[in-house]
């Protein structure tokens, strides 16, 4: 059941001129949150912005005796993300959550491959911690524009996550999209594995196609323009095809944001 919390900002770490991680004191949301779920966030009072915006829960923040809250990874693009970037400790953010379907995380001997593009790293800190706690061997394939926009590498590697990178300018890992090292690794992989992807939709479409070519399943976390997060407004729909039927729109807030990548009709994406 989602709860609405006026969460106090514990810390706001600006990772770059665009990216930040804001830590929020919201134990009630964090305690019930599974990796891949999201919160609807409103960082200011009043009517600008009016609607909340959806954010994947990045980390679950723990102390020795329990759970303190969660953090969000944000990239400054619009009004809400600019407000999130500028937050100071003590500020208040209205958070509604946890919402949506979580990842179906796998246990050993199956491996987990996380595939992130840019701010699509957002759901994977909590997912990686959960996977590592299960003893699942976990690899993060992480693509970004440049080395300066690869974040939390030490955080993931210190938890035993193997990291493979790609950057558009070649400053870290492969030059090009994350699908380059991913496809190479899939060609070599022999054991059972499940893929999890989050990032821009063209990347999710490409990763889903790569996964299908190699006979692997891939759960994708999509981001659509969302009005309510509760299934009320029907704005965040995405076309899916289930059981061989015709494509139809389902609400990504309640049927997702995590979907089987093979069920999404990627070719329906808006051009450009």
């Amino acid at each position: 059941m989602p709860v609405d919390v006026r969460a106090r900002v514990v810390a706001n770490t600006r990772l770059s001129p665009d990216y930040n991680v804001v830590a929020l004191a919201a134990p009630d949301i964090a305690a019930g949150c599974r990796p891949g779920q999201f919160v609807m966030v409103k960082p200011g009072r009043g009517h600008d912005p009016l609607l909340r915006r959806p954010f994947s829960v990045f980390e679950i923040l723990r102390n020795p005796s329990g759970i303190d809250g969660f953090s969000l990874l944000s990239k400054r693009i619009g009004v809400t993300t600019s407000l999130l970037y500028d937050l100071e400790p003590g500020d208040v953010v209205e958070c509604l959550g946890p919402l949506g379907r979580s990842f179906d995380l796998v246990d050993p001997p199956r491996d987990a491959w996380l595939v992130a593009g840019g701010v699509g790293l957002a759901p994977f800190a909590a997912a990686a911690e959960d996977l590592v706690a299960r003893g699942t061997r976990t690899t993060l394939f992480y693509g970004a524009r440049s080395a300066r926009e690869l974040f939390y590498l030490d955080w993931f590697s210190s938890r035993g996550v193997e990291i493979v990178t790609a950057t558009e300018d070649g400053s870290h890992g492969d030059r090009g999209h994350v699908t380059i090292p991913l496809e190479r690794a899939l060609g070599r992989a022999r054991g059972e594995l499940t893929m999890y992807a989050c990032g821009p939709e063209p990347m999710l479409a490409a990763v889903s196609a790569v996964a299908a070519r190699h006979g692997r399943t891939c759960q994708v976390s999509v981001e659509r323009v969302m009005g309510c997060g509760m299934g009320g407004c029907y704005s965040c729909v995405i076309p899916v095809r289930e059981d061989g039927g015709p494509p139809h729109y389902v609400r990504s807030c309640i049927h997702g944001p995590v979907f089987d990548g093979a069920s999404i009709v990627w070719e329906y994406r808006r051009a450009g």
Binding site: P2, H47, P49, L96, C233, S235, H248
Partner: protein
Amino acid sequence: MPGKLDVQIGGLRLKNPLIAASGCFGYGVEYAEAVDLSSLGGIVSKGLFLEPREGHPPERIVETPSGMLNAIGLQGIGVRRFIAEKLPELRTLGATTIVNICGSTLDEYVELARILSDAEGVAALELNISCPNVKEGGITFGCSLTGTFDVVNAVRRVTTLPIIPKLTPNVTDVASFARASQEGGADAVSLVNTFLAMAIDVETRRPALSNIVGGLSGPAIRPIAVRMVYECRRAVSIPIIGMGGIACGRDAIEFLLAGASAVQIGTANFVDPFIWQKVLADIDSYMTRHGVARVADLVGALDTSAREKEWISS
């Protein structure tokens, strides 16, 4: 025994004046985990046609100053699935369910009304003759006085359920449409649906919505909606259900004073699904502060006597 907050809409008694607006509350069941549906005055279902519809492609919404534009395109499961899958759950949850119906033809409204009259758990029918986003969503009826009269009258002949045409603000004189509704046999009118509007992404030069135009809702439209409720109150004797940008108790009271017997909340529910108890508490404390015994006493209680005397006399 009438209570402090209950209101009467024709033959329909609601336990309080707050109703979840059509298209803003799914089929109601989506909110059942978060909200006690029986604590609301009522809920209005998402607009239903006879057949299922896929709606418009995304983008379907965009935020605008103090508001939002939508062009969902009435995606829906159709009336039969609604009756089979949603209505039993709504009954169990104790919701007062008003079903919003949309037709491409007069016959479709009549057919929907017949089907829903035989279903158990329908409190009233809201006639959607005002969706700005689909050509066949009744807007052709809602923009013509004879069309409005005809659809209300045709539905009136086949149902004893309370019928509530939902009026569009995209006309010159909304009060005349309230009058046509009353003459057609409506038990009440609800207004306003969204204002036809448009937003453009200047960087890409593309319309913000796939449908190019959409309906504007939210606090931005509230003063226009209040004015329209006021105009309709002076034109008809049937109850009015007011809506348009209500986000708190004061906003709701503004509509009551302008002449609405009940109000619907839409966009604000997206922002805060727990808004209902907050608005009710606001209304309750306002009534206590102003010594108002029953919420019905606020309806149309606008005081225009205290205007400064016009010093230029004609």
